[in-house]
Symmetry: C2
């Protein structure tokens, strides 16, 4: 196999490799079932870093062109699988299912801490209460059915002990067993002891920082990433390295460089339905990221708050690869059930469990017994499964609606991600765009996009918007039209 | 008035002064309505510190012998008031209503941090689940009526917005207004803005330490004090000064000394129904403590978790004296409603509010919406008032039952406090007692006292036990009998 690279091209190297292999598959040079060259072999041949090949293979895998067989390598998929993966795109049902997202790869090490998350959060809540606003900025999910929930709560109250007292800091044992069962379906084999119930995922993230991070420690984040965590890092007085996202996840080549040069204590990653881009990484990407953390003895904090909102099955979390208790996994019922419950959990294995339990105890003893009882009953009676099935299909329709609107109205220089779940996508704007100006002009027309800068470690990054598609179709249509007009001028 | 002091006596000086004035009142030298000498005047005359006089007058006030008139001084009460205050004791209905508690006054500055609170907490929960145990060690209140609570919860669910989302970090506005109303009856005039809803009082204490205390800062606590806070201080890497409790509250003379010598950042005090002694301080003591904090520019953290369980009205919290935003006041519904809800609040005024709100947001966004809705409904429908009235009278009977049993069975060298509310009292044992040995021997007979050492900054202190009277009368009777036997041997 011969791959010629244009090192001066704007197209990243890994995408050039992907395109070349894709061509070879299309023209039959790489037939169905053929084994791709080994990562090391191809890296030597093309004179690139191994991680670049991992990323290229990751895209091919995500596109359904090849399959990774653990321990054996990468194999070309039969044509019917390839067609199925790209079906919607080829049939024109959903345009641009294959993301054109290819942002500049610039590492960000902010000199000063980021601005307060409180302003963004408060503005978001206020916007939510304003009638007539098309609120693309919200990170909130679809509402649950309150009638059904009231019935569930009544049953939950009956399940409480007559003496409704304090509980152990780790949370209710039965609830933790139920969650361990849920996680088994995601490829995580855990015992209830490995789980601690927290006040949403925010509490879990906060406990991890308080337990592991000292002022001055280096922490790697994806750039862009969840802005709430950026503010938590600032509060913990950590120093931040923002490694850019590619269309396949954190840029692993740059990650390797900075692991080597800065020896960070922790990598914060959102491997599934990344916030704000919506990207889900491949198994290969997860393996490589984990191998790097092992090589540099770095902890991983995997924050998959949106994981329950997957449209399709995804690779198991990075935590599933972990035999050295290096990965902490965080998830929540805030996005899949309701935020107001404040019910999430932290998966931590090994010796550190004691430290987490003591810290939770000293923070607030334990999470609300009644919130725990309600989620327990939601899981026991099948409501959770039923509700998830419903909202996943709803969100998929809404996503398709937004993709259609974007394709129809947006000028060609704008690209976006195509998330396989969750409630938002990421719009990359041309380099000259004034994001704050556009947000202001949009707000004057009752449209609120999520301003991209908030998600970058330096509060700048490249021009971008996060758009929630958890809105009525007519709002999506109208809002995108208005944004497109502003972006065309 | 002539007061002769014996400086070599074991009896603290302030108690010698109290006894002398008490004699003068009894024999009619100080008639009803007479004004006591000014604090400064008597201090000069007796050649003692002004704070010693404040303490002596505080005991006289607590005993009902004199009354403090703000700005005017101290006046001898008419005999009927004196009799009413000491009635139960004199009439023999409740023996020893006047506490004989007079512990040694030894400041404790622990060299190493205290042992983990987690062990004590976990052992307490486990004991609670053991049938047949007389559990004097528990800090848990009486159970609420779950049926009534289920009805309240159903109504609370109906009050939620159809969209049951995140809320502002300070918590529900209506709930904060209701609590501000409650506090008005306690003498605290606040606006809802001054209140932040937290996950029980533990969360509030934790937020205060995270916001105000740097590693190495000196913090004053009462000795003994709430052991959970001692562990929080250790986690915050604060240095601790344990100022001994007198029968009237923290020893103010020693406090003044250590404020001068160590310049602490914060005084942690439980002014009403102190944990573990059950002591409530007088208005004069509060004024003096506040004046000292002002003089040395020190913050005050007033943690009155048991305040709602007062049998009688008590002086307004220290927070009520505060015009300089130096006092933070913490309370909770854990003791008055149910611990599992995790619903408490922090009162903070002035500039620091923003810092607290941001910290709460970054910790866990906000307290469970459903816990907030339940408490709101409990307050709105009158259940809370009704429930409090019920448990206060219940606890008073239980306390009297325990005081009777103590008087009947305990050997004379044992003294105890006589709390005017709450759910426990404090037993002072002779100096030679082996507390851990007694606790072990008691456990072998199915009786669990709260071991005193846990409440001291050095995990030692003087020999003592904390005894909860929130138990069935027959358990109190049987448990005290067993303890008395062990303490007599």
């Amino acid at each position: 196999m011969k791959i010629i690279l244009d090192r001066r091209s704007n197209q990243p190297v890994y995408l050039q490799i992907r395109d070349r292999i894709s061509q070879l598959i299309d023209c039959g040079s790489l037939p169905s079932g053929a084994r791709l060259p080994s990562i090391r072999g191809l890296a030597e041949m093309a004179q690139v870093n191994k991680l670049t090949i991992v990323e290229a293979y990751g895209v091919l895998e995500a596109d359904g062109l090849v399959e990774a067989k653990p321990g054996a390598g990468y194999f070309v998929n039969p044509p019917e699988l390839r067609i199925s993966a790209l079906a919607s795109q080829r049939l024109g049902a959903v345009p641009a299912l294959r993301s054109q997202f290819a942002p500049i790869q610039e590492v960000i090490i902010p000199e000063h801490g980021v601005k307060t998350f409180a302003d963004v959060y408060t503005a978001g809540l206020q916007a939510h209460q304003q009638p007539g606003m098309v609120n693309f900025a919200s990170g909130f999910p679809q509402a649950s059915e309150l009638d059904e929930l009231a019935r569930i709560t009544r049953r939950a109250m009956k399940s409480l002990e007559p003496w409704f007292g304090n509980s152990f800091p780790a949370g209710d044992w039965e609830l933790r067993s139920q969650i361990a069962q849920l996680l088994l379906h995601q490829g995580l084999n855990l015992s209830p002891e490995d789980l601690m119930i927290t006040n949403g995922s925010m509490d879990a993230l906060s406990l991890v920082l308080q337990t592991h991070i000292q002022p001055g420690d280096w922490v790697v984040v994806e750039s862009p990433t969840f802005h709430g965590f950026l503010s938590q890092l600032r509060q913990a007085k950590a120093r931040v390295i923002g490694i850019p996202m590619t269309a396949e996840g954190m840029n692993l080549e740059l990650l390797a460089q900075y692991l080597q040069s800065h020896r960070p204590k922790l990598i914060y990653t959102i491997s599934t339905l990344h916030n704000p881009t919506g990207i889900t990484t491949s198994l290969a990407h997860r393996q490589q990221l984990f191998a790097l953390a092992e090589a540099y003895d770095c902890l991983i904090l995997e924050d998959n708050a949106y994981e329950p909102l997957n449209f399709e099955t995804t690779p198991a979390p990075i935590k599933a690869l972990d035999r050295s208790h290096r990965v902490m996994y965080v998830c929540t019922f805030s996005k899949s059930l309701m935020p107001g419950l404040r019910l999430g959990y932290l998966v931590a294995t090994g010796d550190q469990q004691t430290a987490f339990l003591e810290r939770k105890l000293l923070q607030d003893f334990h999470t609300s017994t009644i919130s725990q009882a309600i989620v327990k009953e939601c899981l026991a009676c099948g409501y959770y499964r039923h509700h998830l099935k419903h909202i996943r299909s709803l969100y998929q329709q809404k996503r398709d609606h937004m993709l259609n609107a974007l394709t129809q109205y947006m000028p060609p220089e704008i690209s976006w991600t195509v998330p396989e779940g969750g409630i938002f996508l990421w719009l990359q704007l041309p380099a000259h765009c004034d994001v704050q100006g556009i947000c202001k002009a949009a707000a004057a027309q009752q449209v609120l996009p999520g301003a991209g800068p908030a998600f970058f470690p330096d509060q700048k990054g490249y021009p971008a918007l996060r758009l929630s598609f958890s809105l009525p179709p007519e709002d999506i249509e109208q809002g995108i039209k208005i944004l497109a007009k502003l972006l065309t001028n």
